[in-house]
C-alpha cells in the first residue's frame, strides 16, 4: 500500500529525490519570466507609488504647517487691528465728550453774556424812559399846576421865566422831601 502511494506520488516508482529535467526546465523558465515581469514592471511601479505617496504626505505636512503659520499671522494682525480700532474708538469718544463739554460751556457763557446784555439794555431803557417821564412830567405837572394856580389865583401868571422858576423851586422841594422820605 505505502509503496503504491509513494510510487503514485512520484509518478513512476523512481527515487523521489531524482528530478525530472522537464519539470526543472519549466520551473526555471516560469520563474525567469516572473522575475522579468517583477523587475521590469511590478517593483518599479510599486516603488514609484510609495515614493510619490511619501512625497505627497511630506509635502502636505509642509503645506499645512505653512498654512497654519499664515493663519496665526493673520490672527495676530486682526487682533492688532481690533486693538487699534478700540483705541481709536475710545479716543474719538473722549474727544467728542470733551468737545461737547466745551460747546456746552461756550453756550452757557454766551447765554450768560446775552442775558447780561439784555438786562443792561433793559436798565438803560428803563433809565431813559424814566428820564423822559421825569422831563415830561416836570413840564406837564408844571403847566398843569400853573394853569391850576392861575385859575385859582385868577391872576395870569403868564411870565414864563418867573413861573418856571416857581415850578423848579417847588419840584426841588418835592425831591428833597422825597429824598428825606427815602432815607
Amino acid at each position: 500500500m505505502h509503496q503504491a502511494i509513494i510510487s503514485a506520488a512520484t509518478e513512476g516508482g523512481t527515487n523521489p529525490l531524482v528530478p525530472n529535467p522537464w519539470e526543472m526546465l519549466v520551473v526555471f523558465a516560469g520563474f525567469a519570466v516572473l522575475m522579468y515581469i517583477v523587475v521590469k514592471y511590478v517593483v518599479p511601479m510599486f516603488e514609484k507609488t510609495f515614493a510619490e505617496r511619501a512625497e505627497a504626505i511630506e509635502g502636505g505636512i509642509a503645506k499645512a504647517e505653512k498654512a497654519q503659520a499664515e493663519a496665526s499671522a493673520a490672527l495676530e494682525e486682526y487682533k492688532q487691528q481690533l486693538t487699534d480700532a478700540r483705541t481709536e474708538a475710545n479716543r474719538i469718544r473722549e474727544e467728542a465728550r470733551a468737545e461737547g463739554a466745551q460747546i456746552l460751556a461756550e453756550l452757557k457763557e454766551k447765554a450768560a453774556a446775552e442775558s447780561a446784555r439784555i438786562t443792561a439794555q433793559a436798565h438803560t431803557q428803563i433809565e431813559s424812559e424814566r428820564q423822559a417821564a421825569v422831563v415830561s412830567l416836570r413840564a406837564e405837572v408844571g403847566t398843569l399846576a400853573t394853569t391850576l394856580a392861575s385859575r385859582i389865583v385868577g391872576e395870569a401868571l403868564s411870565d414864563d421865566a418867573r413861573s418856571a422858576r416857581v415850578v423848579d423851586r417847588f419840584l426841588a422841594d418835592l425831591e428833597n422831601q422825597n429824598a428825606g422820605v427815602a432815607k
Binding site: 506520488a9 528530478p19 526543472m24 519549466v26
Partner: protein, 227 residues
Amino acid sequence: MLLVILSVVIIATFFVIAARKQQLVPGKLQFAGEAAYSFVRNGIAKDIIGGRDFMKYVPLLFSLFFFILVNNIYGAIPVIQLPTFSHVGGAYVLAAIVYITWIAVGIKKSGLKYFKLATVPSGVPWYILPIVVPIEIISNFLVRPVTHSLRLFATMLAGHLIMMISGAGIEFLVMQENVLLKGASVLVLGGAIAMYMLEALIMVLQAYVFTLLTAIYIEGALHADSH
C-alpha cells in the same frame, strides 16, 4: 507543469493590475497588492538585509515568495490538489538560483577572500580551526542548498502524501462490510480535514521560510566580514 505557467500568469496579472493605477490613495485591489508587496519588501528584505542594499534583492525575494506561495496553494485547491514542489525538480531549481545568487553577492562584495570569510570564523583558536573549517565548508556550501531545496520539497510531498493516504484510507474503510469499520471512516475524514488545515498553513509557512532563508543567506554574504 501547466500549473507552473498558470502561476506565473496569476501572479504577474494580479500585481501588474494592482500596481498599474499608482494612485496615492489606493483602491481595494491596489491596497491588497501593496500590502502583499510591502510584506516581502519591508517584512523580509528590509528587516533581514536592511540598510541601503535591500532594494536590489526585493525583486528576487518577492518573485520567490509569491511563486512558491501560489504553487504550494495549488495543493490546497480541490481538483488540482498538487503542489508543484512535491516534485523535487522545481525546488532544486529555485535553491540553485538562490545558491548562485548569494555566492555571487559574496564574491562581488569581498572578492575571492569571501570564501575565507565564509569558512574561517574569526576569533576561533587556531587549533580548533582544522575541525571548524571543514564543518563550515560542509554546512555553508554543501548542506545549505540541499536543505534549502529539500525542506520545501519534503513538506510539500509529505502533505500531498498525507492527503492521498487519508483519501485512500477513507475509501478503503467505506468499502468494508463491517458497519463499525465503515463508521470509522468518519474519524479518518475528521483527521484528514485537520491535516488539510495544517497543510494549508505549512504551504504558506514554507513559502515564507524559503524566502526568509534566501534573505538570510544574502545578508550573510553581504556582511561576511562581520560574522
